[in-house]
Amino acid sequence: MIRFLPYLNFLIKLTERDRRIIVALLIVLIVAFVLIAYIGNGIRALMRRYSKGIDSYMHKLCSAELVTNPRQFFAQVFKKETKRLYFSTRWVLRIFMVSFVLFYIYAASVQGDGPMFAFVGERLNDLKIIFEVPKGEFFGISNFPIDWPRIARGPQPQFTLEGISTYLMFIVTVATIFGITTSTMKFIARLNRAKKKGPEVFTKSLDDTSFVK
């Protein structure tokens, strides 16, 4: 207890403003971790839902006794899901590639002395929201955020040919990333389910079984 006294003394020395900032920081940290937990649990629930996609076709194959052991079960799911992965990503990637080629041709045609995609950064910067954070001194640390940030500049999109092509390419890129991420998540979830369910469905278990007459 005596060892902690200097720290206690230090805490007593805090001004009212410092204490408020410490409490605010703690609350922000707790809320951040709880939010991360909610997002993580949400993703887990989503993947659980995606993983059910193997049930319909595997049930038929197992009922027909075409799949008879866990290894075959996993191999079949892997084959089928690899095909599904290709069919679910092909149009997304084709559209992305065609858009990128067109965008590249446009960028090459308007290129000046600078780098080819210099305008992309400028046009994307126009979309940014710039915050201004009031800063002050905290525990001897200068330039520490002491209040909520305020908006210094909102998004200012420019509807020129450069701007529109950049924004369209940006939307296509975001949609592609979203599409591929979703398909990959489905693929991972279904492989995991196959790995888990394969041994389960081909094991003779006495759980929930009764032979009493």
């Binding site: 971790f33 991360i36 993580g40 194959l61 079949q76 089928k80 290709y86 990503t89 991420t181």
Partner: protein, 104 residues
């Protein structure tokens, strides 16, 4: 309160594990791209040889064949039964229905 602490703990756990989860996901993402490239090349090549990339696996095609043969068998047996009934109808007397309580 316990639920809240559980959530808080999960948040910390997810934060610590996030680099490993992202690395695991990145491997599969790379596989997705590779799979697309390989399948695209395969489907383009097989298209020129008169084939194509099928959505169905070998076992699924086999299952389809089995189902078809079962259906054909059923259809055959139904046809046989129907033809047997028709024969019976031809041989029976037109007045039989009345004897059984049918309309006159």
């Amino acid at each position: 309160m316990l639920e809240f602490f559980k959530l808080f703990g999960q948040g910390i756990l997810y934060t610590i594990l996030s680099p490993f989860i992202l690395a695991y996901f990145a491997i599969f993402l790379a596989y997705t791209m590779l799979n697309y490239l390989v399948c695209e090349v395969y489907s383009v090549v097989s298209f020129f040889f008169g084939g194509g990339c099928s959505k169905k696996t070998k076992l699924e095609r086999e299952l389809e064949k089995q189902e078809m043969s079962v259906l054909i068998e059923k259809e055959k047996s139904v046809t046989l039964v129907n033809s047997g009934t028709n024969l019976g109808a031809e041989n029976s007397s037109p007045y039989e229905e009345n004897n059984l309580g049918g309309r006159e």
